[in-house]
């Protein structure tokens, strides 16, 4: 690893609160090691802003190893930046050139309103899970783990879908701000496993209804979600959701439930 230092011009979205107007502000990021991560670069800028008596840029982050799903901004028009299957915290500055201008904007969607600067409210995603993204098993009810074999290919596909970190990049990337990849990942995971089948119809209808109520756009198969997903989740999950939904709506006795409105 050969490290050097680069200087960047940042154009960062600053917005005091959900209702306040926002704008792009210009900052200099100087002497940034190319071994630093993108968030460490923001840390350095924030340290300097703090010492200058200004308010640092608010951005969500936690694990900094690409798994918690907390971080994520749109960097030069790409959610989580230009690297494939990489979260913002795992994006390193070696992928930028000295003198670059870098635009940093929050994930934008009506259903993910800005809280402050680059921080957005993703509670709509929790509500989609609450609507049915689970298997109804109480602690203590479970049968012996190996009593129900799962074909390895199905288990692997379920794991591919379950890798979703709930960051919302799929929504940010979608030209329609649709949440289909997120919703389909959970529905697929549980639909692929025999344990999830008993509730499959109910789940597909309920989660879809909740997704619709949150104000996301509609999927028009642009595939941007799959391209920008830091975990490489495939749109074949969306096709599976489409199937599961059709099956549930046309062939099961389940009704589409009313969605809970956001508080």
């Amino acid at each position: 690893m050969s490290s050097k230092s680069i200087n960047l011009t940042l154009k960062v979205w600053r917005q005091q609160g959900p209702k306040a107007p926002g704008r792009l502000e210009t900052y200099k990021a100087e002497n940034i090691s190319t071994d630093a991560s993108f968030l460490e670069m923001l840390d350095i800028v924030n340290e300097r802003l703090t010492l200058e008596g200004k308010e640092p840029i608010a951005f969500d982050h936690d694990c900094r190893e690409g798994i918690c799903g907390m971080c994520g901004s749109v960097v030069n028009g790409r959610p989580h930046g230009p690297q494939k299957e990489t979260t913002l915290c795992q994006l390193h500055m070696r992928h930028f050139q000295d003198g670059d201008t870098v635009y940093i904007e929050p994930f934008r969607a009506r259903a993910l309103p800005v809280v402050k600067d680059l921080v957005v409210d993703r509670s709509a995603l929790d509500q989609i899970i609450a609507a049915g993204g689970f298997i109804s098993v109480n602690t203590g009810q479970a049968p012996e783990a190996n009593s129900l074999p799962v074909p390895k290919d199905k288990a692997d596909l379920a794991m591919d879908a379950a890798a979703c970190i709930g960051c919302g990049a799929c929504i940010a990337a979608c030209p329609n701000a649709a949440a289909m990849l997120f919703t389909s990942a959970k529905i697929s995971q549980l639909a692929l496993l025999p344990h999830g089948r008993p509730e499959a119809a109910k789940r597909a209808l309920a989660m879809l209804a909740q997704m619709d109520a949150a104000g996301f756009g509609n999927c028009t198969n642009h595939k941007e979600c799959e391209m920008e997903c830091p975990k490489g989740i495939s749109i074949s999950n969306i096709a599976r959701l489409n199937r599961e939904f059709l099956k549930a709506a046309l062939a099961s006795a389940e009704e589409i439930p009313a969605a809970t409105k956001k508080e």
Binding site: R108, R110, A177, N218, C219, T220, N221, I235, L241, L246
Partner: protein, 215 residues
Amino acid sequence: MTWVLRTLSTSIGKKQLMAVTGLLFLLFLATHLLGNMSIYGGGPAFVAYAEHLHALGKLLVAAEVLMALALIIHVLTAVVLFFENRAARPVKYAVDKSGGGRTFSSQTMPYTGLLVLGFICVHLATFSHHIVDQTTRNIFQIAVAVFSQPVYLVIYLVSMIILGFHVRHGLWSAFQTVGANHPKYMPFIEKLSIVFAVIVAIGFGSLPLIILAMR
């Protein structure tokens, strides 16, 4: 039957309407093109094909009604989707780059769709037996007359290219939407989208040129 309406008004329901009607159009395009290929057998063969078609009588009417219904559903749903999708992102990005998913075709669907709709109107106005009197001139003569006007010729040719772009996203997209995404078949369907789009554009696009050449 409220469950039917409820189902069709969900985001996936609307997509199904688009996909199913879209697949109908694709089927129509295929048969229409196949039929029109009779032009390669010469003017009389083309006329004979048209007469056979009209001889279908009620069956043809049924098909026309079906296509008209499909068109209305496809267009109205598209309008709803277009505005819903725009509203889903009220603040646009200052910089918006593709991650490699969207294509020119996928991004222009509403617009190519609108243009194709315009073309259909022109096309019906110039060729439909409901509008154009086909008793004094046969369909070949009508075609020669229409395509002899450079404006119509250009409109037709450009429209076929636009249609090609619409089909290029529409075909695989319809399969994806009805849930037919299989690791073994999807790559083929995606390629088929492009091949079929090219066939549609070139196939239909060649017709006026052949007709003019036969004039």
